[in-house]
Assembly symmetry: D2
Homo-oligomer: 340 residues x 4
């Protein structure tokens, strides 16, 4: 195979982002088609990129000239489309999460296993240049045995209330990225989690039964501890920092900014604010993850973030949600694995 012919399912914000990257920034990728239930959205993207458009994603799944799909549709469709795509023999890149229901995730895993297609879950932050470097240093033993991992993860603004209501809640929608990150950084599984939630940003979020601010404690299989804090609204921009502390030292990664200038005036010394949100911050990370997927497909190698990496953060998220609902009581993370 010289190029991986790709169809994108879902022409929303993240679908368009992948479309643009796949069109020009990912060697070996040949973007062929895009679908969206709202067909005009697909057509608009298709026109600007010179590819085909359709309203029904089955047209993509049934096209023998297409090798792989990017599933960028709404969360509740991830698992059924994943299963269909696997059965159609397409390699699959699926935006997170696979699903919030463990049975549905299990069904996806089974289908992927049965078909032998490649599967990558879109935990883009693993491909951030800073977090990747922290992961490497930890893996090389640069901080020795891991004792404490810390994640600060705050969005610049709360999503619409309509989104909040179907999101699965802050633990499964937002903190899930951080649960993936701590697994990635420590190389160890989370065995127990305790969470405090609060509604400090928007009372409507609280009325919808969700928290908008939370603190989370984690215990890992290897004995290490973790702390995460989340907020739906950091007015200064997307705040994404990590730290891994161990027996031989500590490594930190900071936010990214639009530039590194410093302005000194009679009033203040000012630096640039963090980049506003994930589209800016993780732009290069999205390209890097797409490249990894395409390379894995073309060279028949393991994808860097497989189905088990899709499953585990959901298990942690469910435990965190339960802990929070019970007022912070520690909850064991269910031991399930798909061995991959």
């Amino acid at each position: 195979m010289n190029a991986l012919r790709i169809g994108i399912i879902g022409a929303g914000r993240i679908g368009r982002l992948h479309a643009n990257n796949l069109k020009s920034r990912v060697p070996g990728a040949e973007l062929v088609a895009i679908s969206d239930v709202h067909e005009p959205a697909a057509k608009e993207v298709a026109a600007s990129l010179g590819i085909a458009a359709c309203g029904d994603y089955h047209a993509i799944l049934s096209d023998p000239a297409i090798d792989a799909v990017f599933i960028c549709s709404s969360t509740n469709t991830h698992s059924p489309i994943s299963i269909e795509a696997a059965r159609a023999g397409k390699h699959i890149f699926c935006e997170k999460p696979i699903d919030h229901d463990l049975d549905k995730i299990k069904a996806v895993i089974d289908a992927v296993r049965a078909s032998g297609v490649k599967y990558q879950i879109g935990f883009n932050r693993r491909f951030d240049r800073n977090f990747k470097r922290v992961h490497e240093i930890v893996k090389e033993g640069g901080v020795g045995d891991v004792h404490i991992v810390k994640v600060t993860s705050r969005d610049p603004e709360a999503p619409p209330l309509s989104y909040v209501k179907t999101s699965g809640g802050i633990f499964l929608d937002m903190a899930i990225h951080d649960f993936d990150m701590v697994r990635y950084l420590t190389g160890s599984e989370v065995v127990e989690v305790s969470a405090f939630g609060a509604c400090l940003v928007d009372p409507e979020i609280g009325k919808a039964g969700d928290a908008d601010t939370c603190a989370i404690m984690l215990r890992f299989e290897n004995g290490a501890l973790g702390v995460i804090d989340n907020s739906r609204q950091a007015v200064y921009g997307y705040d994404q920092r990590i730290e891994v502390f161990g027996s031989k030292g500590c490594i930190t990664a900071d936010n990214e900014t639009a530039n590194n200038t410093t302005l000194y005036t009679a009033d203040a010394v000012t630096r640039e604010k963090p980049l506003w949100f994930f589209l800016e911050r993780y732009n290069d990370a999205y390209i890097a993850e797409a490249r990894s997927f395409v390379e894995a497909c073309l060279n028949d190698r393991e994808t860097p973030v497989g189905v088990n990496d899709g499953l585990q953060p959901v298990l942690i998220g469910l435990a965190a949600k339960e802990s929070c609902e019970k007022g912070g009581v520690p909850v064991k993370v269910a031991k399930k694995t798909c061995g991959g």
Copy 2:
């Protein structure tokens, strides 16, 4: 009163530190005498500073020419000496903690109240230039309503095992400083605490029934959440950082270093490590707290860190210890106050 005549009780590391500061760095202080159960230790300090020495602190308490005492003796003597000193009409600066036993603390509070002397507890970190600035910014509303407070607090090396065994444990010995810090920064009381402990630094600490690494979650009266992480051993030095995040922004304070140079070589870009331990890091803070105490006594003003500030962190520490022993179950902080 032109000068406050001071006697120091205890000529150990912290007693000597206060002695040197009071001798030359604290306007209005007149250091008169020092005592230590091991009299030669007192004599050595006394000789170098040209003051009187004694083996029995009662000589200080009964000296009508002495206005105030600094209680720097072993922890278990803090409360009885405090009570005696109060009855003797001496103003009291007492190293933390007053005691770990609530009844004993209560007795101190009663004695202080009855005598009308000034009482200051040695939470030196409040006087660190960086943390003080964070406190000011938060108080001025610079970050709006507080949503999350974070404390990173790691010692460079574990204390001797003998010390660990009588210390009251990591929550009452080490984290107690952080419990004071979060009260100081948020201006709100802690109502609930949840703690995970681990023994990752030295198995002997675990055998002694203590943790050497911990993660702590807090819930405040005003609704805010907090996270603290502690380690008995950060090989790169004393790691003391804080962060307060709120509705209008976030403020952070970093470690202090011996100098701000940066060295660029073919191998690496290196900066100075954090200052090694509390004597280096909080040197100026110790001077500032002594100045505050002396000024309060001379001008008959409230001390900046009073008996209630000595009580509350113990209440939080006891709750954290209980939570950790119960595997992380959230524990309510006992509601006690001495109104001051």
Copy 3:
């Protein structure tokens, strides 16, 4: 015109860089062909990008289907090819410098004027995100009237001696970028320059009559002063920093690094070194300058770095060279302009 059809002349390092960028990163650009006097080099690039190749650049100049050329051949060919290209009606993007000979530059300017084609000189650093931001802040009055501009500009390693010998010397080859930068940052012309040179890196460079280390003082038309320092060898990587100081403040821009992690160990606190050289540091700047050129051509607007911007730094460089040869005597910069 929907797309600008482009031919590249010269398939060396910088030619290949532009080829890759134009192929996939520059909207509106359609890369058509590449030439090189060493035809296999052109063919290799052409094969990887699916474009045409030739040994003689006249094939590109005479191709009516080509709208613009990127001149990336050796420095001594910049002016004759510029003239031929202008006469052939092609828009021109020319790597710096146009030439070191003022008459030859004049001839290029005349030819460009006569033909009415667009002309952009490749001062890529203007498109660096940090330097661009400094320029904007200064232009907006953020530092008030400019008093002092400082440039630190050091290469990671000296070029081959063969290159040094034909480079025109450190002032016309290396510092010329800094002369462009100070004009860009201050918005004022340099009227006088004084330079000290030294040979501290490699004695062979000195034997070839060139300096490898230099200090330069500048005086601007608006009264401001400037200082530049250059070295052919900074063992820690490409050191490119700027600072503009004025009546209302100061703005600085720092080096770029591969990531922003900080590692704390018992030995040291280490951060990433500056990016190694211009290909890494200015990667995005090369894309941005190509985009600017393509947009200017497609929309018939002024290019952001025109022929006069190619001329002035050469005038400063010649004055600096003369000053250095005379041991640091200040030399007036010749007043010549092409009004653009």
Copy 4:
């Protein structure tokens, strides 16, 4: 000698600063008396510190109970009082400069030599923790052979015009500190200097025949080059940074701030401004230099900044002034030494 009994001559800003430091912060120092031509000024200081006061400094010089003097009077009295003090057998700490007249400096050197007293010149910046560390790293070979030294040195506000007129000009009054610094950092003498001056801050300074902004190039005996920039007015505070670049790397030292907090808001990310001026920035350096002097006197060791260190920066300053007056022509620094 157990303690060095000290008299201070001059009760202005710098005299009071030394008085306070010597009273309480310098072990081995015993401050005895202070004089000032304006006797009430001396009396005020004396009263607050419990020492003697006089209007005529001869009372100090003739007091056999006094071992050493700090000369903090106006610049034009430094050399005559130095000579008198040396003849009176007093060790001498003299604020910079000794004088601007080489013959007068020569006379001081002769008198000091003849009497055998200790002599230290008040180049306080050598004792700044950051600059001292840079000096150490360079001396240890941390940057290899020195190629380039850079000094940024800007005052927060211009002195009164009356001061400017008698100051000796920006090169002998302000840059003289930087000339000392480059000698200290490189360990090599300046052989040639070239300077551009400008009047950009206050036209009145220009009318008084002085510059308020300058750029300076230096050539060192060991072949290294240097650049210095000065301004009388940096509205954001005292800007004092240095950098030494060499064959094996580069080391930088930054400004000091009141604290290291960072505030993130919706508007900006702000850090503290540099400390306002020399009293704040070099507070600890003044203590350290006094300690060095007292230790040298008590232990009969060389002072760290001797008479030759007082002479050389004046020679460089005179050359810089001449260069500036001649429009930037390079001027050789006169080769004079007093071998100390």
